[in-house]
C-alpha cells in the first residue's frame, strides 16, 4: 500500500483554504449500529433461553403434578372399591335379615297392605310365620359375613344409648297423641319422588 502512494501524482495545491471539519471515519460510522444489533440479538437469545427454561420447568412441574394426581386418583378409586365392597356386604340380605331377627322383628305370614289412598286395610290378618326367619335366619350361607358383627353386638357410644332408649320410650305416646290420623286424608304418606 505504501508503495502505491508514491506512484500517485501530488494533488495541486488549493488556492483557497478549504472548509475543514472532523468527521467520523467510515469504520467508526459502521461500528456504532453494530453494537445495538449485537445487544438486541444476544439479549433476545438470553430471553429465549430463559423462556424456554421457565417453560420446561413449568411443564415438568406439571408432569409431576399429573403423576401425583393420577396416583391419588388410583388410590381413591381403590378406596371407593373397598368401601363399595363393604357396603354391598353389609346390605346383603342375610346380614339385614339376621339383624332384623335379633332386633325382634318377625315376618307376617300373610300379605297385608294399607292402601294410603283409601285408608283401607287389604288382606286378612295372618299368624306370625313360625317357620320364617323368626326362627333361624342362617340357612342361606354367606361365608363373607363370618366375623361381621350384628347391629346389637356393636357397642354403642356411651352418650347415645340413653338418648335412643329415651326417644324410643317417648316417641310412641307422642305420635299417638299428635299424629294419629283423624281422617283418611291425614294419613302419613311417605314422600316419594
Amino acid at each position: 500500500m505504501s508503495n502505491l502512494a508514491y506512484a500517485r501524482p501530488e494533488a495541486p495545491a488549493p488556492n483557497q483554504r478549504p472548509h475543514i471539519e472532523i468527521v467520523a471515519t467510515r469504520a467508526q460510522r459502521r461500528t456504532r449500529p453494530r453494537a445495538v444489533y449485537a445487544v438486541v440479538t444476544i439479549g433476545s437469545l438470553f430471553l429465549i433461553f430463559a423462556a424456554q427454561l421457565v417453560l420446561s420447568i413449568v411443564v415438568s412441574q406439571g408432569a409431576y403434578q399429573i403423576d401425583d394426581l393420577q396416583s391419588q386418583q388410583k388410590a381413591l378409586l381403590r378406596t371407593q372399591g373397598a368401601l363399595d365392597e363393604q357396603f354391598n356386604l353389609l346390605s346383603s340380605t342375610q346380614h339385614l335379615a339376621q339383624n332384623a331377627a335379633t332386633l325382634g322383628m318377625v315376618p307376617n305370614g300373610s300379605p297385608r297392605f294399607l292402601n294410603l289412598a283409601t285408608g283401607a286395610v287389604v288382606g286378612a290378618p295372618g299368624t306370625i310365620d313360625p317357620t320364617g326367619c323368626g326362627g333361624n335366619c342362617g340357612l342361606v350361607a354367606n361365608s363373607l359375613l363370618t366375623g361381621v358383627p350384628l347391629a346389637t353386638q356393636v357397642a354403642p357410644k356411651a352418650q347415645t344409648t340413653p338418648q335412643i332408649s329415651a326417644a324410643g320410650n317417648a316417641a310412641p305416646p307422642a305420635t299417638g297423641n299428635t299424629a294419629l290420623p283423624a281422617t283418611v286424608d291425614t294419613l302419613p304418606a311417605p314422600v316419594t319422588h
Binding site: 372399591g81 373397598a82 354391598n88 342361606v140 350361607a141
Partner: protein, 576 residues
C-alpha cells in the same frame, strides 16, 4: 525455499484437518442417518415403560340392581429372594415378623418361602390380600416388597342365587352365568407405553401409545334377591324337616315368563365353593329332571278341554283298579270302590284311574303334541349351564301303560323350571312366554344387548286355561291339603304331585318326589310357583310340602304387592 516449505507444511495441515473432519462427517452420517432408526429404538426401549391397564369384569345384578357378583381389587405381595437375602440379612427377620403380623401368617413360613429357592427372583409372600392389608404392609416401607394387582371376584350375598350366578376359579369362570354369560361379563385389558424419567415420572410430552382397557358389561337378571333369599331359606327348612335329598323352588312371572326366583337346596356359596358337594354347584331346578307326578294332571285337563273332548263337568266312573291288557293295574293313591268323578273331581282328588279314562278320548300323538307345546322335552329359552331337556318319548314309543301314565306324570320327566313354565302358560290364558333369566347385558358404552325374547306362543285356548285354573282352585278350597294352602284374601289355584322315583332297574323304589305347583291370584294370575323336594322315603305325601308352597306364594304376593282377590272362587262339583 522458505515459502515453499511453509506452503507444504500448511497444505499438509489442511489435508490432515480435512481427513479428521471427513472422519467425523462419516461417523455423523452413520449415526444420524444410517443407524438412526435402530439407535432411536434402542434408546426408546431404555426410557419407555410399558404397562398393562386392567379392565374390570362386569357385575351381575338382580332385577333391582342389587349386586350379586362384583369385581374387587386384591393384591399379591411379592419379593425377590435373591436380592432380599443378599441385601437385607440384618433386619430380614424383623421385617418378616412385621408383615406376618398384618397378613396373619407365620413368620417362619414366610422365611421358608424366601429361602426355599434363594437364587430365584420371584416369590409370593401372600396372595390376594385386601386393600386394608395392602395399605398396612405398604406403610411398613420395606424396600424389597413389591405389590401386584390381582383382580378378584366377590359375591356379597353369598349363597343367595349362588346356584345361578356360578363362580370363578383360578382358571376363569367355572359354573352358572359366570360361565355361560362370560361374553357379556369379561373385560379386555389394555396397554400403555410412556417414557419415564429416572424416578419413574412420565416425561412430559413423551410418546404414549395405548389401547384402552374395556370393562365388561353388567349382567342384569330377572331374579329378585330378597325373594330369592326367602325362598332359599324356606326350602332349606323344608329340606331339614323332611330329611330330603334335594329341594327346589321356582317363581315365575306369568305375564312375561321372567323367573323371579330359582332356588335350590343344597346350593353353593360362591365365596366358599369347597363348602358344598359337587352336585350342589349347579342349579338342580334346571339340570335335574324328575317324574313330576300329579302336577301334570293340570296339563292333561287343559289339553282335554282345549281339544274339546272334555269339560270340567265331564263324567267318568272310576273302578277301584284299572286293568291293562298285560294284566297289570293302574291304581289310585288310596283304595276306593267305584266313584263317579267329574273331570274336576279327577284332578282335585288326583285319581290316576279317572284321568287315564278321560285321556283315552284323545289320541296319544295329540296329547304328546300338547306336552311339547307346553315346553316339555326341550330346554327352556334360558339355556342354563347343564340344563336338561327333560324326557317325553315319542308317542309311538309309548306302551299301553306309559300311554296313560304320562298323563299323571309318570314315565316322562321334566325339570322344575319346565313345570313352572307349564303353570305360567295356564296362568297366562294359554299363552306360553319364553322363560327368561337374563334381562339384559348393559355394556360399558351404554348399549344393552341380550334382551330377552318377548314373543309368546298360544298352547291352549284362553277358555281352556281359565277352566283348568277353576279346577285347580278346588284343590285349595276343598282338597286334602286345603288348610295348609289357603292365603287369606287371595284365590290360589294349585296342584299337588307325589311321584315315585324309578330305581333304575325298571321298577320304582322307596324314594319319591313331592311337589306343589300353582298360580295366584286365581282370578287374575300374576305369579306361578313350583316347590319340589326329593325325599328318600315314601313316608310323606305332597301334603308335607303344601305349607312351603303356601309360604312361598304368600311371600311372592307380599313382595310384589299383588292386590287381593275381589270375587270368591266358583264351586265346581267334583262328583256326579
Amino acid at each position: 525455499m522458505k515459502t515453499r516449505r511453509s506452503r507444504r507444511r500448511i497444505s499438509f495441515a489442511v489435508v490432515i484437518a480435512f481427513v479428521i473432519v471427513g472422519m467425523f462427517m462419516v461417523r455423523l452420517v452413520d449415526i444420524q442417518v444410517v443407524e438412526a432408526a435402530s439407535l432411536n429404538a434402542a434408546s426408546y426401549n431404555k426410557r419407555a415403560q410399558s404397562l398393562i391397564t386392567y379392565g374390570t369384569r362386569g357385575a351381575i345384578v338382580d332385577a333391582n340392581g342389587a349386586v350379586l357378583a362384583d369385581s374387587v381389587d386384591r393384591f399379591d405381595i411379592t419379593a425377590s429372594p435373591r436380592i432380599v437375602l443378599k441385601s437385607d440379612s440384618v433386619t430380614l427377620a424383623a421385617d418378616l415378623a412385621k408383615i406376618a403380623a398384618i397378613t396373619k401368617q407365620d413368620p417362619a413360613a414366610l422365611m421358608a418361602t424366601l429361602t426355599a429357592s434363594p437364587d430365584s427372583d420371584f416369590a409370593y409372600l401372600d396372595k390376594g390380600v385386601t386393600l386394608d392389608v395392602y395399605k398396612a404392609v405398604d406403610k411398613l416401607d420395606i424396600p424389597w416388597i413389591y405389590f401386584e394387582r390381582r383382580p378378584g371376584r366377590t359375591y356379597p350375598n353369598g349363597a343367595v342365587a349362588g346356584n345361578l350366578v356360578g363362580f370363578i376359579g383360578t382358571d376363569g369362570p367355572q359354573a352358572g352365568l359366570e360361565l355361560t354369560q362370560d361374553k357379556c361379563l369379561k373385560s379386555t385389558n389394555g396397554s400403555a407405553t410412556y417414557e419415564k424419567a429416572e424416578d419413574g415420572t412420565r416425561l412430559p410430552g413423551s410418546q404414549v401409545t395405548s389401547n384402552d382397557p374395556k370393562d365388561g358389561g353388567t349382567l342384569q337378571l330377572t331374579i329378585d334377591r330378597d325373594l330369592q333369599w326367602y325362598v332359599q331359606q324356606r326350602i332349606a327348612q323344608t329340606y331339614q324337616q323332611l330329611a330330603a335329598t334335594w329341594a327346589t323352588a321356582v317363581v315365575i312371572r306369568i305375564k312375561d315368563g321372567h323367573l323371579m326366583t330359582v332356588a335350590d337346596y343344597p346350593s353353593v356359596d360362591p365365596n366358599n365353593v369347597d363348602g358344598v358337594p359337587v352336585t350342589a354347584l349347579g342349579s338342580l331346578a334346571f339340570s335335574t329332571p324328575y317324574e313330576p307326578g300329579s302336577t301334570m294332571k293340570a296339563l292333561t285337563a287343559a289339553s282335554l278341554i282345549d281339544a274339546g273332548v272334555a269339560t270340567p263337568l265331564s263324567q267318568v266312573t272310576a273302578p277301584s283298579q284299572l286293568e291293562l291288557s298285560d294284566g297289570s293295574y293302574i291304581n289310585d293313591a288310596e283304595e276306593h270302590g267305584e266313584v263317579n268323578y267329574t273331570l274336576a273331581g279327577a284332578v282335585v282328588e288326583s285319581s290316576n284311574i279317572a284321568v287315564s279314562l278321560f285321556s283315552r278320548d284323545l289320541s296319544a300323538q295329540k296329547r304328546h303334541d300338547y306336552m311339547t307345546a307346553f315346553g316339555l322335552n326341550s330346554q327352556t329359552e334360558v339355556g342354563f349351564n347343564g340344563e336338561s331337556d327333560g324326557d317325553v318319548h315319542p308317542a309311538n314309543e309309548w306302551d299301553e301303560r306309559t300311554n296313560l301314565a304320562v298323563q299323571f306324570g309318570q314315565g316322562m320327566t321334566a325339570t322344575s323350571v319346565q313345570m313352572a313354565s307349564v303353570y305360567q302358560t295356564l296362568g297366562n290364558g294359554g299363552v306360553r312366554m319364553p322363560v327368561t333369566l337374563v334381562a339384559g347385558c348393559k355394556h360399558a358404552d351404554g348399549t344393552v344387548t341380550d334382551l330377552p325374547p318377548t314373543e309368546g306362543k298360544r298352547v291352549v285356548s284362553a277358555s281352556a286355561a281359565k277352566q283348568t285354573l277353576q279346577i285347580l282352585e278346588q284343590v285349595v278350597t276343598e282338597g286334602f291339603a286345603s288348610a295348609d294352602l289357603q292365603i287369606p284374601g287371595y284365590r290360589v289355584a294349585a296342584k299337588s304331585g307325589t311321584a315315585q322315583v324309578a330305581d333304575g332297574q325298571g321298577g320304582y323304589g322307596d324314594a319319591s318326589v313331592i311337589s306343589f305347583a300353582g298360580v295366584a291370584p286365581a282370578d287374575d294370575p300374576q305369579y306361578a310357583v313350583v316347590v319340589t323336594a326329593g325325599i328318600p322315603t315314601s313316608m310323606y305325601s305332597s301334603g308335607a310340602i303344601a305349607s312351603t308352597f303356601r309360604d312361598v306364594m304368600a311371600q311372592v304376593l307380599t313382595t310384589f304387592r299383588v292386590t287381593p282377590s275381589t270375587q270368591p272362587a266358583v264351586n265346581i262339583p267334583l262328583y256326579w
